[in-house]
C-alpha cells in the first residue's frame, strides 16, 4: 500500500508544528506536508499530488472555503477536510459543499487520525482513477424531481412543517445522504452519530434547512433528460423498500433504535453508487445496464468490468468520505459480496444484504433481471441463517401494508 500524502494548512505555525510532532508516529503510513497559507498549499498541490488536504477555515488572504473550492476545481481527486476552531453558522454552512468532512478544534489526536483513516479507507480499491476523481468531486447527490418539488413547496409555506420535510427527505436517497453528511459533521457538535434523516431534520430546524436548500442549493434535481434510459423512480422504490426491509429485520431481531436507524439508512443508501454512476457516466452506465439485461448478468458484475469498481464500493467510498457511520459504510460496501469471515451475530451489513435479496425476490419488476441470491454461507457463518424465513414473512407482510397505504 502506498503512503497516504496528507497536506495540512493553517495560518498558525504552532498548530502545524504540534500536528507535525503529534503525527510523527504516523510517518510509516503518511507522508505529511504543512502550509501556512492557501497559496502555499496550492503550490504544494501543484508540485506533488496529495491524497488529503486538512485546512483551517479562517486564514488571512485565502480562507479555507475558497481554498477547498479551488482544490476541488484543480485537483478534484483530493479528499478535503476542514479543521476549524470557528463555529459561525453561516461560514460553516458555506463549507458544507466544498469539504467532505468538518472537524472542530480542538480535535483529539485519535479523532483526527480516525477521520483521515476513514476517509481514505476505500481510496485504494479504485484502480480506475477517473471514478475515484469523480466521487471525490461530488458535492451533492441529486434528488427525485417529484420529491424535490414537493419539498420546495413545503419550504415556501409560511410555516413549513419539520415533520413533512423529514418525511420527504427520508424517502429520498440523495437528500438523505446530503443531510446526514451535514448533521454528522463536527460542526453541530453531536457526540453520537445520527443516521435517521427525520431526526437530522429535527435537529437542524427549519431555518438551517431553508438556508441549506434555498440559498446553498444543497439539494438538486436529477436531470431525467440527460439520462432517458435510467428509471430513477424504480431505483428509488427499490432503495426505499430495501431500507424498510432492513429496518423490519432489525426490529424483528429486537435491535435498539439507533441500530434500526442504521439499518434503514444503509438499505436506503445501499445503491447510492448507482445514482452516482448514472449521474456522472451517463453513456457508459447506460451501456452497462443494457448489457446486463441482454446478457442476464448482474449489474454489479458489469460495473466491475466497465469501471473496475462496483456501485457498492463507489457508494461506500462516497459515504465514507462524507463521514457517515462506519457500520453504514461497511454495510453498503459489502451488500453484494459480504466478507467471508463476518463477525458472528446481527450486523447492519447482514440486515442490508438480506433486505436487498428479499426485495429482489419479493418485488419482481422484470423476470429478465438476474437474481440476487442470499449469501447463505455468510448467513451461516454469522449464525443467522435460521431467521431467514421469519424475515421473509415479515418483509412480505410489510410490503403488502405499504402497497395498501399507497
Amino acid at each position: 500500500m502506498n503512503k497516504k500524502r496528507i497536506l495540512f494548512v493553517d495560518d498558525e505555525q504552532h498548530v502545524l508544528d504540534a500536528l507535525r510532532r503529534m503525527l510523527h508516529g504516523m510517518r510509516g503510513q503518511w507522508e505529511m506536508q504543512f502550509a501556512t497559507s492557501g497559496n502555499a498549499a496550492l503550490d504544494i498541490l501543484q508540485a506533488s499530488p496529495q491524497d488529503v488536504i486538512v485546512a483551517d477555515m479562517r486564514m488571512p488572504g485565502m480562507d479555507g472555503v475558497t481554498l477547498l473550492d479551488e482544490v476541488r476545481t484543480r485537483h478534484p481527486g483530493v479528499i478535503r477536510l476542514i479543521l476549524s476552531g470557528h463555529s459561525d453558522t453561516n461560514t460553516a454552512l458555506k463549507s458544507v459543499r466544498h469539504a467532505h468532512q468538518f472537524l472542530l478544534k480542538p480535535c483529539k489526536a485519535e479523532e483526527l487520525m480516525a477521520a483521515i483513516a476513514r476517509a481514505t479507507t476505500f481510496q485504494d480499491i479504485f484502480s480506475n482513477e477517473a471514478v475515484r476523481t469523480v466521487v471525490a468531486r461530488i458535492e451533492t447527490l441529486p434528488s427525485l424531481p417529484r420529491t424535490y418539488l414537493e419539498l420546495m413547496r413545503e419550504l415556501r409555506r409560511e410555516e413549513p412543517s419539520l415533520r413533512v420535510i423529514g418525511e420527504l427527505v427520508n424517502q429520498d436517497v440523495g437528500m438523505s445522504a446530503n443531510i446526514l453528511k451535514l448533521v454528522n459533521s463536527a460542526f453541530f457538535g453531536l457526540r453520537t452519530h445520527v443516521s435517521s434523516p427525520v431526526h437530522a431534520v429535527n435537529l437542524l430546524g427549519t431555518e438551517i434547512i431553508k438556508a441549506l436548500i434555498i440559498s446553498l442549493h444543497l439539494f438538486s434535481r436529477f436531470n431525467m433528460d440527460r439520462f432517458p434510459g435510467f428509471s430513477l423512480e424504480l431505483l428509488w422504490k427499490h432503495s426505499l423498500t430495501t431500507g424498510l426491509f432492513a429496518k423490519t429485520i432489525a426490529q424483528i431481531e429486537g435491535r435498539r433504535p439507533p441500530e434500526i436507524d442504521d439499518c434503514f439508512i444503509s438499505g436506503l443508501l445501499h445503491d447510492v453508487g448507482k445514482l452516482l454512476l448514472a449521474a456522472n457516466f451517463e453513456e457508459s452506465y447506460q451501456e452497462v445496464l443494457a448489457r446486463s439485461r441482454a446478457e442476464r448478468r448482474t449489474v454489479h458484475d458489469m460495473e466491475r468490468e466497465a469501471f473496475a469498481a462496483s456501485h457498492a464500493e463507489i457508494g461506500a467510498y462516497l459515504l465514507g468520505l462524507w463521514g457517515l457511520p462506519e457500520n453504514v459504510v461497511m454495510a453498503i460496501f459489502g451488500h453484494h459480496t459480504p466478507p467471508s469471515a463476518p463477525t458472528p451475530g446481527f450486523s447492519t451489513l447482514l440486515a442490508v444484504h438480506a433486505a436487498n435479496s428479499l426485495e429482489h425476490e419479493l418485488v419482481v419488476l422484470n423476470a429478465d433481471y438476474a437474481p440476487h441470491p442470499m449469501d447463505t454461507a455468510f448467513l451461516q457463518t454469522a449464525a443467522m441463517d435460521h431467521r431467514i424465513e421469519v424475515w421473509r414473512k415479515a418483509c412480505a407482510r410489510r410490503l403488502t401494508e405499504e402497497l395498501h397505504l399507497e
Partner: protein, 672 residues
C-alpha cells in the same frame, strides 16, 4: 309652473276713511273741494297752496291721495309736482285743470296721473275718479306685495313650501328642491310624507294634525328628510297655517332649514366622546380625577378600580398620595404627585397595590376643568406587559452579544488548545520513546562487561540518575502529561459548553436534547454553585428531544439553578458544609419534566404567590434583580405552554418542577 294668486286683503283694510291732500292756490276752490270730499266720506289731509308746501305736508304725513290743480304758483308747475309725488312718494295724484289746451293735457297725460278732471269738476265725476284712483292704487299695492312675496319665497335661503291639508305639495321653492334633490315637477307629484324619513313619519303627521286642528299657530320640529338619492338630511321644520278670512286653512306654510351640519356636529361630538371612551378602555388607561387643593380623588374610572384593586367608593375621598407610588427603582416617592408644577408627562413609576403586588406604570398628570372647577386628570397606564417585553428583548440582546463574544473567544481559545493538546500528546509518546531508549541503555549499562568497560563514565551516569531522581520522573512525568491532557480536555469541554449555551442558534424552536442542555448549563454555571453545593444529575437516558427555543431553555435552567445555589448559600454561609442540588429529567406522557431541588432556605408561605412577579426579590441589593423567576415563567408558560410547580418547605429546601410539552409536529399534526 305655479301662478301666484293675489293675497286676499285683510278684512280690516279699507275700513278707515282715506286721507286726501288738496293742492290749490285758490282758497275758495280749495274750500269747495274740501267740502265735497267731506261729503264723499274722505278725510281732508289739509290744503297746500304751492308745491313746496304740498311736498312738506306729504313728507310729514303721507295722504292716501292727492287732488291737485295743474296751475299752481312757484317754480315747480303742477305736472312736475304730480310726477314727483307719484314717483317718489308713490301716492296717487288726480290732476284738476281749467286748461283744455291740447299741449297741457298731453303733458299731463305723460306723467300718468291717476285721474285728470276738468274744471268745473262735476261731483259725481270726482267721486268716480277718486274711487278709481284708489282702487287702482290698491290693485297696484296688491301686485307689488304679491311680487315681493314671490321673490321672498323663491330667493329664501331656506326651503319653503305650501302643503295642502292632504299633505301634497302645493308649491315649493327652489331652495327646497335643492335641499331634497328633486325637480319642481317631481315634487308636485309628491306629498310631504314621501320625503320624510320613515322613523320620523309619525312625529311629522302629528305636527300637521295639530296645525290643521288649530291647536297651535306654529309648530317647529326636527326631522329627517330623505333626499331623492336616498341620503338623509336633518331639517328644522316650522309649520304655520295659511288662514283664509273664514278661518279656513287652505294650506300650511312650511319652512325647512337644513340642520344636517349642526346635527352632524352633535353626532360627531357624541361619536368622538364614545370613541374616546372606547380608546381609554381599550388602552386600559386608569384615570383619576384629583382635587388639586386637597389631592383628594374626586372620581376614578373602572380601570383605575382594577388597577388599585379597590372599588370606586373606597377610592373617592382618599388622597392620591396614599396610593403607594414608588419611583422606577422602587423607592417610595415623597413628592409623589408633583402638583406644584402641574403637568407631569409620561413618568415611569411603580405602584404598590394594597395587596402588596408591585405594578410598573406610566403616569401623566394634566390640569383641566371639570364642571367649571379646575382639577387634575391623572392618567395611569399599567406597563407590566411592556416591561416584560423589554425584559425579553434585553435578554435576547444580551444572549446575542454574549453568544457572539463566546464564539469569538472560543475560536481564540480553541486554536491554542489544539496545539497544546497535540504537543502534550506528542510529549507523551516522545517520553515513552525516550523511556524505551533509556531503559535499553540502562539495561545495557547493567551488564557486568559494560559496567566494567564504562568505568568513570558510569559513575557520572549514576550521579545524574540520582540527581534527576529517575524513579520519580518515571512515576510523575507520564502522570503530569496525562493530567495536563485531562485539563486541556476540560478546558475544551467548558468552551464547548459555553458555546452551546450562549450560541444555541436563532429564535426558532428546534429539537433540543434537554439532558445535554442541563449538562452544559451545570458546567457553565459551575462557579455559581461549586462553593456551596454539589450538583447531582439524574437524567432519563430515554428522554426524547423537546421542541423548544434552545437559548431560552438554557436560560430557564440557569436561572433556577442560580436561585437554588443562592438559597443554599444562605444556609451554609460561613460554615464548611455544602448543600445539594439535584436535577432530574423524566418523560411524563407528552411532557418532559425537569425538576431542580435544593437543600436551601425554602420559600416562606407568604412569598410563594409572588415569586414569579417581576421585581419581587428577597435578595440583598446587587445580588438579584428579581427578574430571574419572572423570566422563567415567561419562557416556560408563555412561550412553551408549559407549567411550573414549586414545592417548598422552610428550612428543608425547594423543588421547582418545570413541565413542557414535547411539542413539534406532535402538536401541529392535528391541524393538517
Amino acid at each position: 309652473m305655479y301662478t301666484f294668486p293675489p293675497v286676499p286683503p285683510r278684512p280690516a283694510e279699507g275700513m278707515a276713511p282715506k286721507r286726501v291732500l288738496i293742492v290749490e292756490d285758490d282758497p275758495v276752490s280749495a274750500q269747495v273741494m274740501a267740502k265735497r270730499l267731506d261729503l264723499l266720506g274722505f278725510l281732508s289731509a289739509g290744503i297746500a297752496q304751492d308745491a313746496d308746501r304740498a311736498l312738506a305736508m306729504i313728507q310729514e304725513h303721507p295722504p292716501d291721495l292727492v287732488l291737485q290743480d295743474i296751475r299752481i304758483p312757484g317754480d315747480m308747475d303742477g305736472i312736475d309736482l304730480c310726477d314727483v309725488i307719484q314717483r317718489r312718494h308713490r301716492i296717487p295724484v288726480i290732476l284738476v285743470t281749467a286748461f283744455t289746451q291740447e299741449e297741457i293735457t298731453t303733458r299731463a297725460a305723460a306723467v300718468n296721473p291717476y285721474g285728470l278732471l276738468y274744471k268745473p269738476v262735476d261731483f259725481s265725476q270726482l267721486r268716480v275718479a277718486m274711487e278709481t284712483a284708489l282702487r287702482k292704487r290698491a290693485e297696484e299695492d296688491l301686485q307689488e306685495s304679491s311680487e315681493r312675496f314671490r321673490s321672498t319665497f323663491e330667493q329664501a335661503a331656506v326651503g319653503m313650501c305650501h302643503v295642502l291639508p292632504d299633505g301634497r305639495f302645493l308649491r315649493v321653492n327652489e331652495q327646497l328642491c335643492r335641499l331634497l334633490g328633486y325637480s319642481r315637477q317631481e315634487l308636485a307629484e309628491c306629498a310631504i310624507r314621501d320625503v320624510t324619513f320613515q322613523d320620523d313619519q309619525e312625529m311629522a303627521d302629528d305636527a300637521m294634525r295639530n296645525i290643521l286642528l288649530g291647536h297651535t299657530e306654529t309648530h317647529t320640529l326636527e326631522k329627517r328628510l330623505r333626499r331623492k338619492d336616498g341620503t338623509m338630511v336633518w331639517g328644522l321644520v316650522t309649520l304655520s297655517p295659511a288662514r283664509e278670512a273664514s278661518g279656513n286653512i287652505p294650506y300650511i306654510i312650511v319652512v325647512i332649514q337644513d340642520v344636517t351640519h349642526s346635527h352632524r356636529a352633535a353626532e360627531e361630538l357624541r361619536e368622538s366622546e364614545e370613541t374616546l371612551r372606547k380608546i381609554l378602555h381599550g388602552i386600559r388607561a386608569a384615570i383619576f380625577i384629583i382635587d388639586p387643593a386637597t389631592t383628594c380623588i374626586l372620581d376614578a374610572n373602572a380601570i383605575a378600580e382594577d388597577l388599585i384593586g379597590l372599588p370606586k367608593d373606597a377610592l373617592r375621598g382618599a388622597s392620591c398620595c396614599t396610593l403607594g407610588w414608588q419611583d422606577k427603582r422602587g423607592q417610595p416617592m415623597s413628592d409623589n404627585c408633583r402638583f406644584s408644577d402641574g403637568a407631569l408627562i409620561d413618568v415611569e413609576m411603580r405602584l404598590k397595590k394594597p395587596d402588596g403586588r408591585i405594578v410598573p406604570v406610566i403616569k401623566t398628570v394634566i390640569p383641566g376643568m371639570r364642571r367649571g372647577v379646575s382639577v387634575y386628570y391623572e392618567i395611569v397606564f399599567d406597563i407590566t406587559e411592556r416591561k416584560a417585553l423589554e425584559r425579553r428583548l434585553s435578554i435576547a440582546q444580551k444572549l446575542e452579544s454574549v453568544g457572539e463574544l463566546a464564539a469569538g473567544v472560543a475560536h481564540e481559545i480553541n486554536t491554542p488548545i489544539q496545539y497544546i493538546g497535540d504537543n502534550l500528546h506528542y510529549l507523551q509518546s516522545a517520553y515513552a520513546d525516550l523511556r524505551r531508549v533509556l531503559d535499553a541503555a540502562l539495561a545495557a549499562l547493567a551488564l557486568p562487561t559494560v559496567r566494567h568497560a564504562a568505568g568513570e563514565a558510569l559513575r557520572d551516569v549514576d550521579r545524574a540518575r540520582t540527581d534527576a531522581d529517575l524513579d520519580f520522573l518515571t512515576e510523575e512525568v507520564p502522570k503530569s502529561l496525562e493530567q495536563s491532557l485531562e485539563g486541556v480536555e476540560r478546558v475544551a469541554s467548558i468552551v464547548r459548553a459555553m458555546k452551546k449555551f450562549s450560541h444555541p442558534g436563532g429564535e426558532e424552536k428546534t429539537a433540543v436534547d434537554i439532558n445535554k442542555a442541563v449538562e452544559n448549563t451545570v458546567l457553565v454555571a459551575r462557579n455559581e454553585w461549586k462553593y456551596v453545593a454539589d450538583v447531582d444529575t439524574d437524567l432519563d437516558p430515554e428522554l426524547p428531544t423537546v421542541h423548544c427555543l434552545p437559548g431560552d431553555f438554557n436560560q430557564v435552567i440557569l436561572n433556577v439553578l442560580i436561585n437554588a445555589a443562592h438559597a443554599i448559600g444562605d444556609v451554609v454561609r460561613d460554615t464548611p458544609a455544602k448543600g445539594r442540588i439535584t436535577i432530574t429529567t423524566r418523560r411524563e406522557g407528552d411532557m418532559v419534566r425537569l425538576s431542580i431541588s435544593d437543600t436551601g432556605t425554602g420559600i416562606p408561605e407568604g412569598h410563594r404567590e409572588k415569586i414569579f412577579d417581576p421585581f419581587f426579590t428577597t435578595k440583598e441589593v446587587g445580588r438579584g434583580t428579581g427578574q430571574g423567576l419572572a423570566i422563567v415563567h415567561d419562557i416556560v408558560v408563555e412561550k412553551h405552554d408549559g407549567t411550573i410547580d414549586v414545592e417548598s418547605e422552610v428550612g428543608r429546601g425547594t423543588t421547582v418542577h418545570i413541565r413542557i410539552p414535547l411539542g413539534g409536529d406532535r402538536k401541529t399534526e392535528g391541524q393538517r
